[in-house]
Amino acid sequence: MTDTGVYLYAVTGEAGRTGPVDLTGVAGTPVRVITRADLVAYVSTVPLDRFGEEPLRHSLEDLDWVEETARAHHRVVEALSETAPTAPVRLATVYSGEEQVRDLLDRRRDDFLVVFSQIAGRREWGVKAYAGAGQDAPPPADASADETLPEAESPGRAYLKRRQASLRGREERWREAAARAEHVHETLAAVAAASRLHRPQDPQLSGRPEWMVLNGAYLIEEGNEGEFAAVLDTLRGQGLDLQLTGPWAPYSFITVDFGATETETRDDR
């Protein structure tokens, strides 16, 4: 077929076991397996008029499409990761045919096996920490450029003073929050088999004083999840709003270099 491609979701390492059946993938396509030695690739046949280079370029500008596709991709990965060590593949990785996927499994077999040895029996949890949400008094005045103060109380000098104080206060709170976030990360990482620090999801865009000061991922032995939860609870109420997400397939802990440039801050422990 020249008008279809093979969309790759993930590779798992337990060829002997039957993975989930009846999975529906991107664009409503059925998911099937390609097995090679002890590796299993989960794929769908996708039409190239939607997943070819040019159509993809347009599709990626359409958030509805991106959301639908990302959720479908994620659903497949999630279902797989519940039954076997799973290496998720990035969204919209499309091969021209099954042969190319088999070739990938052959060439990368050792890399995949290393990955599986690192993630087997472990799940990823995400912890985000926000500073400035509802703790102590709210800042007297926000430092944003379009800040306006009540007319009656704001002769120029008072305004400048308050603004200065406000800026100093913000800076201080920021430093405190960063130090707390570091403490949170170190404490959680001590319970984790591995941890990664990711870039905080952009905190300034909301234009609010709630900064995301930590966007961490923690790879936790399934037997240690209770302890991890307990440790996280001890960290609450100390000035940061901690949000837990997961469990995730170990997206953040695929440490083998598959030829991509590293962009995240790595924090191996």
Partner: protein, 144 residues
């Protein structure tokens, strides 16, 4: 104060945390676009496009959870994020295109900003575009 406890009241603290409600889009996108096995398929143009998308999303979906909790909903009106109000968005897009066509000669930069929405986002995406584009492409081709 910390937000509502997500799991693990004292009596349960020995148990594994319960599965969250379905994960939010920002967290999913962060993972499926940015993590996992990054490897060039045969359809390779997407490496660059996805990188740009990732940059865009980083800026756009920032702290959506927090913002939503606080009742800030500006993104609901952003064509990039809203799946509602399709007609309005389409209408908007048509108008912007017409405006762009009219102003094209005198002010190409600011038109591009209007096209993509928030100022800072478009500026930063453009910067990232410039500095990241070439590098990413070559990274993608290394997997031959």
């Amino acid at each position: 104060m910390a937000g509502p406890a997500r799991f693990g009241s004292p009596s349960q603290s020995g148990a594994a945390p319960a599965r969250r409600e379905s994960a939010n889009l920002a967290d999913i996108l962060e993972r499926v676009l940015d993590r996992g096995v990054v490897i060039a398929g045969d359809i390779r143009v997407n490496l660059l496009d996805i990188e740009l998308l990732t940059i865009k999303l980083r800026l756009v979906i920032a702290s959506v959870d927090t913002a939503r909790e606080l009742g800030i909903d500006w993104w609901e009106h952003d064509p990039w994020l809203s799946s509602k109000n399709r007609d309005l968005i389409e209408e908007n897009r048509r108008l912007r295109n017409r405006l762009a066509a009219v102003e094209e000669d005198e002010e190409p930069l600011s038109i591009r900003e209007r096209e993509t929405g928030a100022r800072s986002r478009s500026i930063r995406a453009r910067e990232a575009d410039e500095e990241g584009g070439g590098r990413r492409l070559s990274a993608g081709e290394r997997d031959d």
